[in-house]
């Protein structure tokens, strides 16, 4: 059973096809790269998958369940996690509240149970483990706004993993990170994949994509121009032309 299947998905903005006929499948434990030049429709594709945009055509399946008509929060509750190019955190809250938002999604506990102090799964070891992999040492009571950008990028992935997703969409995790921070982000992704999470990764750093991904989908002008292993994609004429502008 695939954790994510996208079939001929597409969306048009004001007559312009931002994404058209994109199809791919992600298996549990697999890391799939989604690459393409700027404006190729990568983030739009993630928005279509996560339900932030409503697709004009095509279908999205999570664990073989058709979720095309489901809203973003319903897809999240079915196990679809997401990070953003710029971290989307609770800017006026503490690190702890931000992370608990992830565990709330994993537990999906009702208000009354939560109000009465019922506990969800024991995730202390999980948190410690993830923070260690991410090499993050932060004051949990500190305001999230006091953290550095590199910390926020990694924390967003940690929060995503605390929600126990079956599929995780990661948008440009390397942007703004130094080499060491990038290494830790990759470690988090590899850890998630080992745990059986299917990952869709958008990234501009080609060396990272080639090292981390099991297979890659290449978009250009909203269309899928190549799909294959890193070696196959890097040798593809259409990809070389899209990136370098030559035949």
């Amino acid at each position: 059973m695939s954790c994510l299947r996208v079939e001929e998905i597409g969306i048009t903005f004001g007559g312009l096809a931002a994404v058209s006929d994109v199809s791919f499948t992600v298996e549990p434990g697999e890391i799939m790269g989604l690459i393409g030049p700027n404006g190729a429709g990568k983030t739009t594709t993630l928005n279509l998958i996560s339900g932030l945009y409503e697709a004009d055509r095509g279908r999205v399946y999570l664990n073989d369940q058709d979720v095309t008509k489901k809203t973003a929060y319903e897809r999240a509750r079915l196990g679809l996690g997401r990070t953003f190019q710029t971290p989307h955190m609770l800017t006026r809250s503490t690190v702890s509240d931000n992370m608990k938002l992830g565990t709330d999604l994993a537990d999906q506990m009702g208000f009354l149970k939560s109000f009465l102090g019922f506990k969800g799964h024991n995730f202390l070891d999980e948190v410690d483990g993830l923070m260690e992999i991410a090499d993050l040492k932060v004051d949990w009571k500190a305001d999230i706004s006091s953290l550095a950008y590199g910390q926020l990028k990694r924390l967003e992935i940690v929060r995503g993993l605390l929600a126990h997703p079956k599929t995780l969409l990661i948008d440009e995790p390397a942007a703004g990170l130094n080499a060491k921070e990038l290494e830790k982000s990759v470690a988090l992704m590899r850890h998630a994949a080992r745990e059986g999470v299917g990952i869709v990764l958008i990234e501009h750093k080609m060396d990272m994509i080639m090292n981390v991904c099991d297979h890659i989908v290449v978009l250009n002008f909203g269309k899928m121009i190549a799909h294959g292993t890193p070696d196959e994609v890097s040798a593809d004429e259409a990809v070389i032309e899209a990136y370098l502008g030559r035949k």
Binding site: T71, Y73, F84, M89, L101, F111, S114, F123, W140, A142
Partner: protein, 338 residues
């Protein structure tokens, strides 16, 4: 026992002790009119605390809380004076009526975003103001509703304003504990997510619309209960209170104390309510005083008095953490994650 539970228990016990001290040492020595002002401030806090949930936690600026307050008051008054419903039941039904109205309005208006929603709620306040003034069969019209019965609890009748103070103070303490608890629940975090980043909230499984509707209803019930308390406490209610002007004062109360802190909001409510008494010598300049207060507030302390206090605590923590090189500071997940 968990550290947090212990802290809350300690706070509750200290607050109870403070209430007893205040009642015995201060309230007994005040004039009835002064106690009335304090009591009304405590009652208004029910309305302001709803606004804290809406704006402070949920980032939703609603300017129709005063309508919920008024509806609660008039329903309670109507049920007691015209249908002889006992006071406790009338009070609960007043709160329920406001909750039902809030549910209807929330479903209708919360699909709107930002300024459109705010203007929608202003419209509701003007509609409420007009209905309260002109729907005489229900509200008594310009004369208001009078002769509302006294509250009797466990055989004790609350006759004077001084009788009411300890009860209202305990209600407010319970309300603060409730607000504190709500913030720590999944619902509280959903609200904060909606406030800070609706997109992130969606992607973290939060039904943004439903969360906003639920908090709107909760705020409505609190305001309605406050209205019921007001009706029974004063024995008479007039439509002239439930105006847009009063709504704006509620906003000032919340902003002055601190939009992110229930205790700050309580402080702001008492201060703004008591201001006319403190500034009796300058009564004709009261509006000027309010105006200056708002301008200064927005320039120098946009997060209110509680915000200043929080900033000081953060500064202290940063200073302390500087002494721990290579580490983000004390406090691992086990300290805060339950």
């Amino acid at each position: 026992m968990k550290k947090e539970t212990l802290r809350v228990l300690l706070f509750a016990l200290s607050a109870l002790f403070a209430i007893v001290l205040l009642d015995q040492l201060v309230i007994t020595n005040l004039k009835n009119s002064q106690v009335n002002i304090i009591n009304v401030a405590l009652i208004f806090f029910f309305c302001v605390s709803g606004m804290y949930l809406l704006l402070g936690l949920g980032g939703v600026l609603s300017l129709c809380s005063v309508t919920m307050l008024g509806l609660g008051a008039f329903v309670c008054g109507f049920l007691n004076t015209k249908l002889n419903v006992p006071i406790p039941a009338a009070m609960l039904l007043g709160a329920l009526a406001s909750g039902v109205l809030a549910l209807f309005l929330g479903l209708l208006l919360l699909k709107l975003e930002g300024p459109c929603f705010v203007f929608g709620t202003i419209g509701v306040t003007y509609i409420g103001q007009s209905v309260f003034q002109n729907f005489a069969a229900f509200t008594g019209g310009p004369n208001g509703t009078g002769g509302i019965g006294k509250l009797v609890l466990f055989g004790y009748t609350f006759k004077t304003f001084k009788d009411w103070f300890p009860l209202l103070a305990v209600f407010v303490l319970l309300l603060i504990l409730l607000l504190h608890r709500i913030k720590q629940t999944t619902f509280g975090r959903s609200l904060m997510a909606v406030r800070d980043d609706a997109t992130a909230a969606y992607c973290m499984g939060v039904n943004v619309y439903r969360t906003k509707v639920v908090v709107f209803v909760l705020a409505g019930v609190l305001a309605g209960f406050g209205g019921s308390l007001y009706a029974v406490h004063n024995g008479t209610i007039s439509a002239s209170l439930f105006t847009f002007n009063t709504q704006l004062k509620f906003v000032i109360m919340l902003m002055l104390g601190g939009v992110m802190s229930p205790i700050g909001a309580l402080f702001g409510t008492v201060l703004v309510n008591y201001l006319p008494e403190l500034a009796r010598f300058a009564n004709s300049y009261l509006n000027l005083l309010y105006g200056c207060l708002i301008v200064l507030l927005m320039i120098f302390m946009p997060m209110g008095l509680a915000g200043i206090l929080k900033e000081a605590v953060v500064r202290y923590r940063v200073q302390r953490n500087k002494q721990l090189p290579g580490d983000g500071g004390k406090g691992g997940p086990s300290d805060v994650v339950s």
